[in-house]
Point group: C2
Chain length 292, copies 2
């Protein structure tokens, strides 16, 4: 025979109120029900918890001590449960998010601001990583959500499209191409280009697009950091081939961008989550903000 939370609550209430009747009132049960709970607990523990007399009950030392111990445990329990319910209501919680550096710098801040506005209690732990690593982090469960590239069908990952990022031609001030509505690949191939470094996925994307068009790429400059690349273009050293969403472009005056008509220069940025793994309420909230 075992004890239950009801019995434990009955004990603490009875010790606190000093009366079975008042304890029953507090717990919204009838007095006989409470009497039975206490008796069951006494039998289960093999301990007399109260001395009964016709003019009331008085806790035994054991009852007093147990009530104090139980009260502490009940408080602990209440705290844990309240925390869980709070998280369920999106009033608190933590999401671990793995995200591409470019997105972290551009799209993410606004999204986090919207999340904070809607759910001020939710904290987001952001980890920026290259596309491959974003996927790995989500697969390993180290990140609940990831923002990365569409990488084709992965059995373990589920992708939700967020937006498309395309490489655009970035023209130095006064460049003749500014007269065009768009800049074709052949024209770009013939011009000196400012590209990102050969290790980056942006560069790989560019290489593939040119190769598919039967063109060779002619990098005049390679920069690791976006801000360097932008500065080089601005100095007139070449045409940049850079992601349209890069914040560095938006804040750089005098630079004009033109689309490049190639489907291969587009990247679908997607939200990644583990397939079959439900999200925590906090992650759910973040996903909604990102997808909405």
């Amino acid at each position: 025979m075992s004890y239950s939370l009801r019995q434990i609550r009955a004990l603490t209430a009875a010790v606190e109120t000093g009366s079975f009747g008042r304890a029953a009132l507090r717990l919204h049960v009838s007095q006989p029900a409470l009497t039975l709970q206490i008796r069951a607990l006494e039998e289960s523990l093999g301990v007399t918890l109260f001395d009964r007399s016709a003019r009331g009950v008085r806790p035994t030392p054991a009852g007093q001590a147990l009530a104090a111990s139980f009260q502490r445990i009940l408080d602990d329990l209440e705290t844990v449960v309240a925390g869980a319910r709070e998280q369920a209501q999106r009033r608190s919680g933590v999401v671990h998010l793995a995200v591409l550096p470019s997105v972290a710098a551009n799209l993410l801040p606004g999204a986090l601001a919207r999340l904070r506005a809607a759910h001020p209690g939710i904290r987001v732990m952001v980890r920026d990583a290259v596309a491959r690593r974003v996927a790995a982090l989500v697969k390993a469960g180290e990140a609940e959500l990831g923002i990365g590239h569409a990488a084709g069908p992965e059995p373990e990952l589920e992708e939700t499209p967020l937006f498309e990022d395309s490489l655009v031609a970035v023209l130095p001030p006064g460049h003749p191409f500014a007269a065009l509505k768009e800049v074709g690949l052949p024209a770009l191939a013939a011009a000196p280009l400012v590209l990102t470094d050969p290790e980056s996925s942006l560069r790989t994307l560019a290489e593939h697009a040119f190769a598919a068009a039967g063109l060779a790429i002619r990098p005049a400059y390679e920069a690791t950091y976006m801000s360097t690349a932008v500065a080089l273009v601005r100095a007139g050293l070449g045409i940049g081939l850079l992601p349209a969403t890069a914040v560095e472009l938006r804040v750089a005056p005098l630079l004009e961008t033109r689309p490049v008509p190639s489907p291969l220069l587009r990247r679908r940025i997607v939200l990644l989550r583990r397939r079959g793994a439900s999200l925590s309420p906090a992650a759910e909230a973040l996903a909604e903000v990102l997808e909405g």
Copy 2:
């Protein structure tokens, strides 16, 4: 709707075993029962605790975290309950005992040794005090048990007789009264007496006995400590009127004792407890040893 210990145990077992079926096995319930417990807990908390698939379940981060918190609480609870049960079985526990100094020095050590032999885990906090204070301590609940004098009918205290302590005549070596079987009050009144100090209850007892016999008491010496009194008698300075149970008499060679035929020189030593207050199991054990 609220949560229960069963549900909490179901969660921790399921997270630990990684399977509803194995958890059910461990908790000795059927698998559907466990499934329902988990679901009820999820509904109560508003949190998804497991991701279900046809090939098994996997705890969500929330489930994992809650299971860990709950496990700690369950361990706490288990410890408290185990402690209570241990005390109920007299395998541990504490008794606060108030006791007359004379009894503490004489009867008590043997009793505590017997208690230790029977119940090694029980600790006894001994507090020696004069009779009036013994009664007060028990009344106030500061001592669960008391060893004191029979003090007539007290509404709050219950008395169980332990033994009788009578004042006996303690004769110096070679005293002529050694030829007698007993020493009457008149003979004592005529002799120089070694008594305890006027504040002590022993002295009061002696005064009353003499007064009732129409005799005046003639203290030659008054000693506060029993050992002093014994030493005075041994030095031949008078006849002692001391409690028969005093250990100092038993270990003093050459001293002989003779009963004094007066019912007023007897004291009933009783075990005191609060009326209507049940004893802790540890106190129960001590009472048994004392009364047995």
